[in-house]
């Protein structure tokens, strides 16, 4: 009962003393002649010290008392052996810190719920087209309406699409993105504005020009003033009234959403969207399922709905509907890489703990004398083990604190250098959850690294000292083997990722990305086709003559073209296998192929004669030529896009080389290029090939284009080489981290085996001395030690390889160009590991070989 005031030992002692005095009085009174009544009294009492001790032990919570003393002792020891403590603490700090950093990243990206009401019931709905391996196609308006009206598992469905617009009217307009949404968008997500209101169903129906502003734009344009409500915002020259402001953390659906407007207010609503056919799929669909409905029920209902719709509308392009929970949608692609990252960083912690366990074991055998004394003074095995465990607890906690510091620094670096496309990465921070994680990790590390050494060291003598040394060495050998096998698993995983990355870098993109600048230019809505053609032609001509520029051209969208469209080839029956044939379609202006560096394989490029009114022409890539016209020349052949109204037939005039536009990792898609002059558009990427450092020229290009028309807004100038790099940024991010972890693991294992072999040499100095006295050479001794160390590393590598075979399967979807059992990696990883082990064993081996036999034999 620790809450009651304890009686102090002094009080108890006093009582015993009073007893002795009373007893002595009694002896005196009894009349017997006793020369020393006090001694008689004490004799009658028995062992005073034992009673006091018994009182002491029962009078308090011994556990805490021991803990307090052990803590004090551990802290003293830590100060006395700063070198040893520093190594242990740093090792643990590295492991705990890395784990903490990765955990807080995973916590922010995967674990924390999305900031909407009951986010677990939200899902995206897509057009599912298995024939084209496209499971996340956008949705046509008519289809959406059918889904919304006929689904019972979904409480409500909403839709949205993104639209870029020019913000402001005078001088330099700014490009911004709006989300066109119906009135039920906000209640479906369960979000509310911090100021004002969102638009109503009536306002949506009437197509009223109202909008809701993002927090960021509100701060930027209106300085966060409530005056913003009711004022007007000029979008593409039309003004709309601001009626609400969303909270700062609400950005859905796009990372750069600045404005939410009713879908009905955009000019394209009446011109195109409202009347578009079922093949015109530009909408994203978001739904909330009914409570008590499972995802599999919702999926089942939607697929039967899709079958019904297909039967009702034979022209319907929707073979299926896929339902993807919103959490999966936002984090699905990063789940596996993050899990792999966490796995590898945890492996690293295990290695760190193994290393520390090894150090503690070595330390334990060095402290044998201390423990012998303690045992002689009455300490039991459990008591000794408790003390040792407390020591490792202290080390782990200090390591954990330092690790927290490392994690804070590391996390900042991760966010700064991490790729932009990992959702919610920037939100990662150290909070209470992370602190709890770190604390439990430290306890885990303390027990993992300290328990075995504690029990081992505290074990009472059961045999000779020699036996004990041998037994402890057996355990330490096992630890080193474990360490090496863990390190090999990590190294193999990292090797596979690095190999994939290297292979990816050797992929020929099909063009020359160096010295290439791009700049997105968007003309105001409302220019005629002829004006658009003239504008881009002038822009290209003016940029081309700037100093330092070799050539310039323009294309609808350079990297990542829009979705692909169905193509009908004249004179060929439809498609080889199911689903229609699809190709990407882009318009170009100027000497595009020469500028980008794509070779012409057949036919001709476009010329000035390919203009409005002349026969529609097209250039296709080799992939399309091979697919549509195998074994014949495509030149002069004709094809059309059946989904387009008033679709003319295009005549193929040229074939060019393939180019990876949809991303280096994706397959090249069939591609159609058409002249901008025959199908004008208001938005293009201007491409510029420079003769010198492109960044120096960027400003001149921007100025030149700006001078043509002040009302045109541009995206910033970007270097294509850098844009290509961003495509692989996420891969590089994960790869670099895992490579870093495996390097640390390698280093730790090297330290581990070094420590063990060093100990081995010190322990066996005498034996080695005898060997040398009996004629062993320098080389023999060197080999003796090296063989011992390499045997351990070899066994570890073997076990690790077996483990890696099992574990790398998980990586398969992250690899490029190799299988999870890539022989090169599987050969290289153990080689590196054993090489490092040999280096680490070399130092103790040399020390052994230099032992002076005379000195060694004189010991003891």
């Amino acid at each position: 009962m620790f809450w009651r005031k304890k009686r102090r030992l002094e009080d108890f002692t006093e009582e015993i003393e009073s007893h002795l005095a009373l007893e002595a009085d009694q002896v005196r009174e009894s009349g017997e002649a006793d020369p020393d009544p006090e001694a008689t009294a004490r004799r009658a009492f028995g062992n005073v010290a034992a009673v006091r001790e018994a009182f002491y032990e029962r009078s308090r919570w011994l556990f805490w008392d021991h803990l307090r003393r052990d803590l004090r002792h551990a802290l003293r020891l830590m100060q006395r052996r700063p070198g040893f403590s520093a190594v242990v603490i740093l090792t643990l700090a590295l492991g705990i810190g890395a784990n903490t950093a990765i955990f807080s990243l995973i916590d922010a990206v995967l674990l924390r719920p999305l900031p909407y009401r009951e986010p677990g019931r939200l899902a995206m709905l897509w057009t599912d087209d298995p024939a084209h391996d496209d499971h996340e196609g956008r949705v046509a308006l008519l289809n959406f309406q059918d889904w919304k009206n006929q689904s019972h598992t979904f409480q409500d469905l909403t839709l949205f699409c993104g639209q870029t617009f020019l913000l402001g009217s005078n001088g330099a307009p700014e490009r911004a993105r709006s989300a066109r949404v119906p009135a039920n968008f906000f209640p479906l997500l369960g979000v509310e504005p911090i100021l004002g209101r969102v638009f109503s169903k009536d306002e949506e129906k009437r197509g009223e020009r109202v909008l809701v502003l993002s927090y960021g734009l509100w701060q930027r344009r209106f300085g966060g003033s409530s005056q913003a409500l009711g004022s007007d915002l000029i979008m593409d020259g039309r003004s709309s009234r601001i009626i609400g402001i969303m909270p700062s953390q609400f950005q859905y659906p796009f990372a750069d959403t600045q404005v939410w407007e009713p879908i009905t207010t955009h000019p394209s609503w009446n011109a195109r969207d409202r009347l578009s056919p079922r093949s015109f799929a530009i909408w994203y669909v978001l739904g909330r399922i009914q409570p008590n409905v499972t995802w599999s029920q919702a999926k089942a209902e939607m697929s039967s709905l899709a079958r019904r719709l297909k039967a009702e509308h034979p022209d319907n392009e929707v073979p299926g509907i896929s339902v993807v929970p919103l959490h999966t949608q936002t984090t699905g692609k990063v789940q596996l890489p993050l899990a792999v990252l966490f796995g590898s960083v945890f492996l690293m912690l295990l290695i760190a703990c193994t290393n520390v366990a090894n150090l503690l074991l070595a330390r334990g055998s060095a402290r044998e004398r201390e423990f012998a004394v303690r045992r002689a003074l009455g300490a039991g095995s459990m008591r000794l083990a408790g003390q040792l465990l407390t020591e490792s607890l202290v080390l782990a906690c200090v390591g954990g604190l330092l690790g927290l510091l490392l994690a804070a620094v590391g996390l900042r670096a991760l966010i700064a250098f991490g790729p932009q496309d990992i959702p919610r990465l920037a939100e990662a921070h150290l909070d209470l959850r992370v602190l709890l994680f770190t604390l439990s990790l430290s306890l885990f590390a303390a027990i993992l690294s300290g328990l075995w050494p504690a029990l081992q060291t505290a074990k009472p003598f059961t045999g000779s000292r020699q036996w004990r040394t041998v037994a402890s060495r057996g355990v330490r050998n096992l630890l080193v083997i474990a360490e090496f096998s863990l390190a090999l698993v990590l190294l193999t995983g990292a090797g596979l990722l690095v190999h994939s990355f290297l292979l990816l870098r050797t992929v020929d993109p099909g063009f020359r990305p160096d010295h290439l600048l791009t700049m997105r230019v968007d003309l105001h809505v409302g220019k005629t086709g002829a004006q658009q053609v003239a504008y881009f032609r002038e822009a290209i001509e003016r940029v081309q003559v700037l100093p330092g520029i070799r050539s310039a051209a323009a294309i609808g969208r350079f990297l990542n073209s829009y979705g692909e469209e169905s193509v009908t080839v004249e004179g060929h029956p439809l498609t080889p296998s199911g689903g229609g044939f699809k190709a990407a379609d882009d318009v170009i202006s100027g000497p595009y192929f020469e500028t980008v560096g794509i070779p012409l394989k057949m036919g001709r490029f476009f010329s000035d004669r390919d203009r409005r009114g002349s026969p529609p022409v097209a250039i296709v890539n080799e992939k399309m030529a091979r697919t549509c016209w195998p074994n014949e020349s495509p030149i002069g052949k004709r094809f059309s896009f059946p989904d387009r109204k008033s679709a003319p037939s295009f005549t193929v005039v040229g074939v060019t080389g393939d180019m990876h536009r949809q991303g280096i990792e994706r397959q090249v898609a069939p591609q159609v290029f058409r002249p901008h002059s025959q199908s004008p558009d208001n938005e293009m990427d201007i491409l510029v090939r420079t003769t010198s450092e492109p960044l120096n020229i960027a400003a001149a290009v921007r100025g030149e284009i700006q001078s043509i028309d002040k009302t045109v807004a541009k995206f910033g100038v970007a270097m294509v080489e850098r844009q290509l790099g961003e495509q692989t940024a996420e891969r590089r991010f994960h790869m670099s981290l895992i490579a870093l972890f495996s390097l640390i693991a390698l280093l730790l294992s090297a330290i581990g085996i070094y420590g063990l072999m060093h100990y081995f040499v010190v322990q066996r100095a005498q034996e080695i001395g005898v060997r040398m006295a009996l004629g062993a050479r320098y080389g023999n001794v060197l080999l003796l030690v090296l063989r011992q160390g390499l045997a351990l590393a070899g066994i570890g590598a073997l076990v690790g390889t077996v483990g890696a075979f099992g574990l790398t399967q998980m990586l398969s979807s992250l690899l490029y160009g190799i299988t999870p059992t890539d022989p090169i990696t599987f050969a290289l990883a153990p080689t590196i590991l054993i090489g490092v082990a040999a280096l680490a064993c070399w130092l103790p081996a040399r020390r052994a070989a230099r032992i002076d036999p005379v000195l060694a034999l004189r010991q003891d």
Partner: protein, 117 residues
């Protein structure tokens, strides 16, 4: 064999507790007085181990069966006096009854004292 000693101790402790409580029925006493009283009343059969007595007193005090207070003995020495609490009194009744039952049962089995045949 820890379990066996535990059993013995528990038995002895129980007895000692009962004796202490019984001694305190007549009024407050200090530890030495209790020891002497037990020895005298048992006609020198029970030689109380003084160390165990004080530990037992401490235990009883923690349980709240007796209360301890420093005072002055009849021959003017400082001593810690123990008194029976209400809780201790009811415990005594219970334990004494229990003891009598056990003693009666044992004496029934062992039988009355007989002359050696």
């Amino acid at each position: 064999m820890p379990s066996q000693t535990d059993d013995n101790e528990r038995l002895l402790q129980g007895t000692l507790d009962l004796l202490i409580l019984q001694t305190l029925v007549l009024g407050a006493r200090h530890g030495q007085g209790i020891a002497r009283s037990i020895q005298q009343q048992s006609e020198d059969v029970f030689l109380v181990d003084h160390g165990s007595l004080y530990l037992a007193l401490q235990r009883l005090e923690e349980k709240g069966w007796v209360g301890g207070k420093w005072g002055v003995s009849e021959n003017n020495r400082k001593a810690r006096f123990y008194t029976l609490t209400a809780k201790g009194r009811s415990q005594l009744t219970q334990k004494a009854n229990q003891w009598r039952r056990v003693a009666r049962a044992i004496s029934l089995i062992v039988g009355p004292e007989k002359a050696e045949a």
